[in-house]
């Protein structure tokens, strides 16, 4: 599903290049649940950005579902990721002015679903995550765990094949974190959603079936 070859990413400061990613070679099969770990500043988020097509590498090639991502035009790239990829953020990043229902609905609007379809999909999601009662509330009326649930529901609304999560439990307490991890595992096993998560917690990493360690921009060992 994902194939990264000789990926380099650097920031230019003056005349020196500060490498954030160096020679990343990585293949991820459809249906896997991968955890990326590593110390702060090691380039985890950057790697996730590249995979999620929010950022581009400076060198190397990236094949996503048989498409050469770096060769695509901006518009085609957006089409590709909005169809296949969902994002979950550490800081939830819900839209403050929209209700729970509307937050989940927004990606469907961008994907061109009709009103009635959107309604049924969002209702499904609300059901599935047991937040029907909260559908008319605004994000600031929810707890952190609930917000993250909405974030995941939003990411899954368009039924993506790949879910990218950057420290999804980072702002939650351990019980809430466990719930989210259980949810991820279920999604991976029952719905066959490929998941790549960044995490600092050894325990969370064990929910997945593969761990990638980053150190100073390099993949250490598996």
């Amino acid at each position: 599903m994902i194939k990264l070859e000789k990926i380099y990413r650097w920031y230019q400061t003056g005349s020196t290049r500060n490498f954030v990613l160096r020679d990343i070679n990585l293949e991820i099969e459809e249906g896997s649940f991968v955890s990326i770990m590593g110390p702060s500043g090691s380039g985890k988020s950057t790697l996730l950005n590249v995979i999620g097509m929010l950022d581009q590498a400076d060198e190397g090639s990236y094949t996503f579902m048989d498409q050469d991502v770096f060769r695509l035009k901006e518009k085609q790239r957006v089409e590709l990721y909005k169809k296949h990829i969902g994002f979950v953020f550490q800081a939830y990043h819900l839209i403050d002015e929209l209700t729970v229902f509307e937050n989940i609905e927004t990606p469907l609007i961008y994907q061109g679903y009709k009103g009635s379809e959107r309604k049924s999909i969002v209702s499904d999601m609300l059901d599935r995550f047991q937040i029907v009662g909260k559908k008319d509330l605004f994000p600031n009326q929810l707890s952190g765990g609930q917000q993250q649930l909405v974030g995941i529901a939003r990411a899954l609304a368009g039924s993506p094949k790949l879910l990218l999560a950057d420290e999804p439990t980072g702002n939650l307490n351990s019980r809430q974190g466990e719930e989210i991890m259980d949810l991820f595992k279920k999604l991976n096993e029952e719905d066959k959603v490929t998941i790549i998560q960044v995490t600092h917690s050894e325990k969370n990493a064990t929910y997945g079936n593969r761990i990638i360690n980053l150190l100073d921009g390099r993949i250490e060992q598996e």
């Binding site: 929010l54 518009k75 994002f87 953020f89 550490q90 990043h93 839209i95 929209l98 609007i109 961008y110």
Partner: protein, 799 residues
């Protein structure tokens, strides 16, 4: 999807109340001001356009040449119109009009009723075919067909006759002319250059209609062209026609045609002595000035909006990032921000409309117009308002839509946002532009007012204060005038009385003098037939000789004159030398100089002082009695004057004018412009400050955390205020530096309009700069202080 955007925008507006309020306030006042100006401009441009034939009507104008001096007049000899109609093709009709007494007051008597008006004209019957003058009573072909027939405006008919039917009744004009009322016409609309209350048949005036001559240009003449006639070609043909009829040496003028459409706004350089279309002229320059002002104000309002939007961009960029991450295209986001802008502009339009309705009466008062709600609601204005709203939306939304939609979503994955360079330079440029415009407007206002004050306080060379001009045009014989003079002089507060043809500020007869021995070296002279007391009444300064002799007679072999310095200098004499000499070319009989007065401003200060002569030749009438008084109890004096007047002239109306007011009238246009510019400058600055206020608020908001930390570390409030204010104040400083040369140049150009003008002194610019700076400091420090005294613990935690 649009509905979603509306919903989102609406909630956004509600959430950021302060931001929305500032924006709506700025946008709606900007829109209201701009629309009012457009309304004004449209009204000025609508003058005379209601005539069905407006595109085919041309006014015959003359350019007179005197030895290098040019004078453009709107009147022509009485023979030109008929000659064109007879000899040239392409002309369907012509009308000659003559202002009764050349625009002086006409006295109307009907039974016991006495009325005075300046709006009596004599015209060919074709006036009813060329212009749109709907008759309410009477038939077109008959009402002006013979001498002694007049038609009245509806208003005039009501004034004289009330509810009675006036048709068939007779009225007396100036005591001697007995005419019959044959019809009533609808009142001329307010946006008509021409506004007669009484129109009489042209051939009633025998002297004007019997003999057709090619000199004496006293008749305002209009041509109605055939469809498709080329007016330039016609002009040449008219030139040829004049050449065939007037000998080369007598041809002191050239003829040209002015389209009816240009009458109102493009006649500022013309002289109207005696013209029918005299009173209301607009000025295309003023219109352009106001148009620029409207654009500036709209620009400032749009700029405010952009400014405030970019100030919020840090918060907005997060939203953009999220939307992009969940699949939004750039076009989605552009639409989204345009929807928000549209919503704000829409709300502001509604508020602007309410604002306009509320301030319309006040606005009318300032600009001297009668605009009504109906005018505002006319389809044209509504469409152009919508267009303005549309342009404003496009313009204001441009920056937020394009700039914000460009944010990259990758920053979302970072736990806290990195400080991006959020359009800092662009915003700075906007603030500088806004405040430069404000400074220019303030300088403009100051200079405008100073110049008007200068004009008012300038030593005119005579003293118009406490001089009252009373019209005696309606006196039936000389006995009445003598008795009136006696009556006036027995009033204790009357100091002196003179009779005069005219007075300074009101023109005079145009003649010319030439240098002795050189008949081709001529200078135009304004002449005024007066009695000797004029020097005392007007408090003129005699430098040599004395005033006119007391007694003079029609059959005297010569006449006496008083010249001003300018005229004497032209003749080549010193004032003392001039006494007893002749001024050649003025009259048929020799004109002997008895006195020389220092130069005085008998015209507006737009024009340099020309030559002037008071004389006692019996060539003109003397319809004014000028009375110099010395009392402050004006109402008492007026009633005494009126009593005396009624005793001597029982059959005529008592009409008077204060000379000082008449002179002020010369600058009515400037004053109106100054008032309008002042009003709108204040509003423009207010709108600009609104923007600065918002900007300061949001910057403080953004830096709350920084302020909190600094406070915890021990920063003083004064230090924090300085920290927050100094950036803005620096921008305002730069704005001042930019605007000073700009406004200097603009004002210098404007002052070129005046022959007598103030010097541009440094303090005008200093004052404008200081005012702007003070307002800016006030605005910014208000926000800064608010931010600086807030509780630091709270602001740190909320981050």
């Amino acid at each position: 999807m649009l509905f979603q955007y509306f919903k989102l925008s609406w909630r956004n507006l509600l959430k950021n109340r302060q931001f929305s309020l500032l924006n709506i306030l700025g946008l709606s006042s900007g829109l209201a001001i701009a629309l009012l100006l457009l309304l004004y401009i449209r009204d000025e441009k609508s003058f005379d356009q209601y005539h069905e034939n407006v595109d085919r009507i041309q006014r015959i104008c003359l350019t007179m040449n005197y030895d290098g001096n040019e004078r453009k007049v709107t009147t022509a000899p009485n023979s030109i119109g008929p000659a064109i109609l007879e000899n040239l093709s392409g002309v369907k009709d012509q009308v000659r009009t003559l202002n009764h007494n050349f625009g002086d007051i006409a006295f109307i008597n009907s039974g016991e009723k006495q009325i005075s008006t300046r709006h009596l004209i004599w015209a060919d019957p074709s006036i009813l075919n060329i212009f749109d003058i709907p008759l309410l009573n009477g038939t077109k072909n008959e009402v002006l067909s013979a001498p002694g027939k007049v038609i009245l405006s509806d208003r005039m008919a009501k004034t004289i006759f009330g509810d009675e039917d006036p048709v068939g009744k007779r009225i007396k004009i100036d005591q001697y002319l007995d005419v019959e009322i044959t019809g009533i016409y609808a009142d001329f609309p307010q946006n008509s250059s021409m506004n007669p209350e009484i129109i009489g048949s042209f051939n009633t005036m025998e002297w004007a209609s019997k003999e057709l001559v090619w000199s004496n240009a006293s008749f305002e003449t209009f041509l109605l062209l055939e469809q498709g006639t080329d007016s330039k070609l016609l002009e040449q043909q008219i030139e040829g026609l004049v050449a065939r009829n007037v000998a080369q040496e007598d041809r002191y003028y050239s003829v040209w045609l002015q389209p009816m459409r240009d009458l109102h706004l493009h006649s500022t350089e013309m002289q109207f002595t005696g013209a029918v279309v005299a009173s209301k002229t607009g000025d295309s320059r003023q219109i352009n000035l106001l148009l620029i002002l409207a654009l500036i104000i709209l620009g400032i309002a749009a700029t405010n909006y952009m400014n405030l939007s970019t100030a919020r961009s840090l918060a907005q960029s997060k939203e953009v990032g999220i939307n992009k991450a969940i699949g939004a295209h750039r076009s989605h986001l552009i639409t989204r921000y345009y929807v928000e802008t549209f919503l704000l502009v829409g709300i502001s339009m509604i508020i602007a409309a309410l604002l306009i309705f509320t301030i319309l009466p006040f606005f009318n008062q300032v600009v001297d117009k009668q605009l009504s709600i109906q005018d505002v609601l006319s389809p044209k204005i509504i469409i152009s308002s919508l267009a303005v709203g549309g342009v404003l939306t496009l313009l204001s939304g441009l920056y937020p839509a394009l700039y914000l939609s460009g944010f990259q979503p990758k920053f979302l994955l970072n736990t806290s946002f990195r400080k991006q360079s959020t359009a800092g330079n662009f915003r700075k440029a906007l603030v500088i532009t806004q405040f430069s415009a404000s400074v220019v407007l303030i300088v403009g206002t100051i200079v405008c007012y100073k110049q008007i004050q200068f004009i008012q306080q300038k030593n005119l060379g005579f003293n118009p204060e406490q001089v009252i001009a009373i019209s005696t045009a309606a006196a039936e014989d000389i006995g009445q005038i003598e008795s009136l003079r006696d009556g006036f002089s027995s009033i204790s507060s009357v100091e002196a009385i003179a009779r005069a043809q005219t007075y300074p500020g009101k023109g005079g007869s145009g003649r010319s003098i030439h240098i002795p021995g050189y008949p081709e070296k001529v200078l135009p002279v304004t002449t005024n037939q007066v009695t000797p007391e004029i020097v005392e009444v007007l408090d003129m300064h005699i430098i040599a000789g004395q005033t006119l002799p007391q007694r003079s007679h029609k059959d005297d072999p010569f006449c006496s004159i008083i010249l001003n310095q300018k005229a004497v200098k032209f003749l080549g004499y010193s004032p003392e030398e001039a006494i007893g000499k002749e001024a050649p070319g003025l009259f048929q009989k020799p004109a002997i100089i008895t006195g020389v007065v220092s130069d005085f401003h008998f015209n507006s200060l737009h024009q340099p002082i020309g030559a002037y002569a008071f004389h006692n030749n019996f060539t003109e009438g003397r319809p004014y009695m000028l009375v110099k008084t010395n009392t402050s109890n004006i109402s008492d004096l007026l009633s005494q004057l009126q009593t005396a007047f009624k005793k001597s002239l029982p059959h005529s109306a008592f009409v008077y004018e204060f000379l000082s007011q008449e002179i002020e009238q010369l600058y009515a246009g400037e004053k109106r412009t100054a008032k309008v510019v002042l009003l709108f400058s204040i509003l423009a600055i207010l709108v600009a400050c609104l923007g600065l206020f918002g900007l300061a608020a949001f910057t403080s908001e953004q830096r709350r955390k920084e302020i909190g930390i600094r406070k915890v570390l021990g920063a003083s409030i004064a230090g924090l205020v300085q920290l927050l204010s100094v950036d803005f104040i620096r921008l305002v400083f730069i704005a001042i530096l930019i605007s000073v040369p700009l406004s200097w140049w603009l004002m210098h150009t404007w002052l070129e309009n005046y022959a007598y003008k103030i010097e541009l002194s440094l303090w005008y610019f200093a004052a404008a700069g200081l005012i702007t700076l003070l307002i800016a400091i006030q605005t910014v420090s208000f926000q800064a202080i608010r931010a600086a005294i807030s509780n630091p613990v709270k602001s740190i935690r909320t981050e």
